[in-house]
Each structure stands twice: as structure tokens, then as C-alpha cells.
């Protein structure tokens, strides 16, 4: 697994167009409210917003590394936030926001809790 510095540098290179996006880095963040009100024909290709809040139509969505399902990312998402794949239930961690990069979240360990 890449270190945070390596990931940050990779993210920066990708944002600057110096490197092809990671296969899981689908670039844009779905806005919850727009998902809810999206026309039926756009249901799988949602109106999306970048981390800066700009909106665009895209067919590039964050993909679950386990089931290839589309992962919906909240508009206020943060790096290192946990999200779940609605299709297979896998817990994922957002490693990079722009473009979106997802990894499997760490397995729950015995000492995890409150």
C-alpha cells in the first residue's frame, strides 16, 4: 500500500494531468440531492460535483473494487472517510478526493470500538 505522501503526490500529479487516473479514481463526487432528483435516464450516470463544488455531467463514477458497483460519495466527503458500497456492502476508505480513489477499508480489529 502506498504511503500517504506517495498517494498525495500521485493525486497531485493526476490533478495536474501528468498521470492517468488510477482505475478506481473516477474523478467526481456525486451530490446527494442531485442524485435524488436526477432524471430517470441519468440514474446510473449521475450529476456530479468536484471536491471544489463545481458540477458536471459524467459517466465516470467511483467503482467498488470488490463488485464493480457504482459507489455514491457524499458531497461533503473527506479523505480517509469510510463509505459503503450500496451494492455489496463492502466498507471502503476514500484515499483521495480529486480524483476519487477508493481502497478497501481496514478489517475491524479486536481492539476497535468506543
Amino acid at each position: 500500500m502506498a504511503s500517504k505522501d506517495e498517494r498525495d503526490q500521485q493525486c497531485k500529479r493526476q490533478q495536474e494531468g501528468e498521470e492517468d487516473p488510477h482505475p478506481l479514481s473516477m474523478g467526481l463526487i456525486a451530490l446527494d440531492e442531485e442524485i435524488e432528483h436526477a432524471p430517470a435516464h441519468t440514474a446510473g450516470f449521475l450529476l456530479c460535483g468536484s471536491a471544489s463544488g463545481e458540477c458536471a455531467m459524467t459517466n465516470q463514477m467511483p467503482i467498488c473494487p470488490v463488485c464493480d458497483g457504482v459507489v455514491y460519495i457524499p458531497s461533503d466527503a473527506m479523505e480517509n472517510e469510510l463509505v459503503s458500497c450500496a451494492e455489496c456492502g463492502t466498507e471502503l476508505e476514500i484515499m483521495c478526493l480529486a480524483p476519487i480513489e477508493l481502497e478497501l477499508a481496514p478489517e475491524v480489529e479486536e481492539d476497535w470500538g468506543e
Partner: protein, 292 residues
Amino acid sequence: MRIALLVTHIRAEEKLILAAFNKRDISPDIILDRELNFDITCGAQQLAPSGIAWREYDLVFERCVSTSRGMYALAILNSWGLRAFNTYETAATCSDKLRTSIAFMKRGIPQPHTRVAFTPESAMQAIEDVKYPAVLKPVTGSWGRLLARVHNRDSAEAILEHRQTLGDYNHHTYYVQEYVDKPGRDIRAFVVGNRTIAAIYRESNHWITNTARGGLATNCPVTDELDDICARAADAVGGGILAVDLLEDARGNFVVNEINHTMEFRNSSQPTGVDIAQEVIDFVIGQIGVVA
């Protein structure tokens, strides 16, 4: 004001906490516990993963889901004189059910009848001393993991053999409690400083009522009696920002089951109408400048 938020990753609670800080025009530095690399002897002048020297932080707010990482980070930071919530002493007590029971005993906090043994044979005797059904718990752990309600000698023998054979040494400390026949619910109370700011009932058809296990949260009125026992229990473990879990026994009296030092509250603000994150953060901010 410079604050570090120490996390394993960002959960709903951490987002609420960050939003509460932002309402007070504070943007904490988020520090991931996976990136910590302390030089124990170098002290607080060394750089945190944020690139800022630890000593520059007015406060470190520990919110790690990893109990060991959070607790040992607090041990180091507190040893350097940094202010942190909760303190290492509070975290170390709350993360260990046996140490929590001792703290309650010393302050006369009512708790379920509890016995401790270190071999399967003596644990069997402990179970029969508290009488069936008994509850076996790991001394460390959360979210209702590996709790066992034991109804008879056969099941006790099976569980003890599994613990002894499959568990590491942590599972060879047998923490045995009487089963409290609660009314289909327990109480989770949120204590900030010396005040109980809110409480919920956690209702479930299952004997384990954790919301992490599907327990339903509804508002529980904070009576003077509840506030008193919660504040005393929180003080017994060192105080701070704590979630106190209580049971109601057959006579309606409270017994304190355990205290959590990195509380989860995502399901509790809505039913109680209390902005728990904001209460916590305002308390934390208010402590800066108070004598460490």
C-alpha cells in the same frame, strides 16, 4: 487556537466534530494514527505527521477507533505535558472492564456483581458463584463483541474451553458478571465534564442492546438521579468526555455497566434533541487555558 484531531479514519462522529469546530471558526489538523511515529525521548518539539511540532498544539482530541493506538498515543502525549482529551489515565481505565470495575468499587458506584478468575476451572467456579445465567466478557473490547450469556454448566464449559484454546492471553482473564434482567433496554448517557448532557434508551429484543448491534435509540430523560450516578461514575474513571452505559435492575435501580472513552453518538442527537458534538467541542474549547 491549534487543535489536532487524532483519528484512525473519518466516521460520522468525526465529521460532526469537525463541523462543530468549524462553527467556532477552528479547523483542526487531522492526524491519522497509522502515520504516527514517535521518538519517545525526543519530546513535544518533534514534528507531528501534520508537519507541525506537537508542542504547538493547544490540545489533541483523540478519536481513534483503534483503542490501543489511541491509548498509547495519549500516554506519550500526556507524558510530554500535552493536553489531550480524554487523558491517558481515563482511556486506560475505560478500555479495561476490570480496571473500570475496580474504579467503581473504590467510589461505591453500583455495578453488576463481578468476579474475575484466571483459569477455566476457577472461571467455572466464578460463573457458578454469580449463578446462571451469567455473562462472560473479554476485559477489552467493544460493540458487544464476544459477550456470552451462559445459561448452564454445559455451555459454560464449552465457552471456557474455546476461550482457553483459541484466545490469546487477553482471553484468559475471565471476567464474569451476574446477568441483570433488564427491561428490554439499557441506557447510554453522555457525560461532558461533570454534566450529563443527554441520554438514550437502547431497546432491543436481543439481550445485547448496543446500537452497533441493532439496538433502537430513543430519548431517555436525564433525571437528577441519572445525572448524579453518571457524573459520579465518570469521575471515578478520571472524568472527561464519556459515554456511561447503565442497566436498570428488577427493582428499577441503576447499575453502571461500563464507560466508553471514545464515544459514538451518531444515532443519539436526533432522538435527544441535543447537539452532542457541539456540546463536546464547546467543552473542549473551554478547557484550553484551564490548568492542565
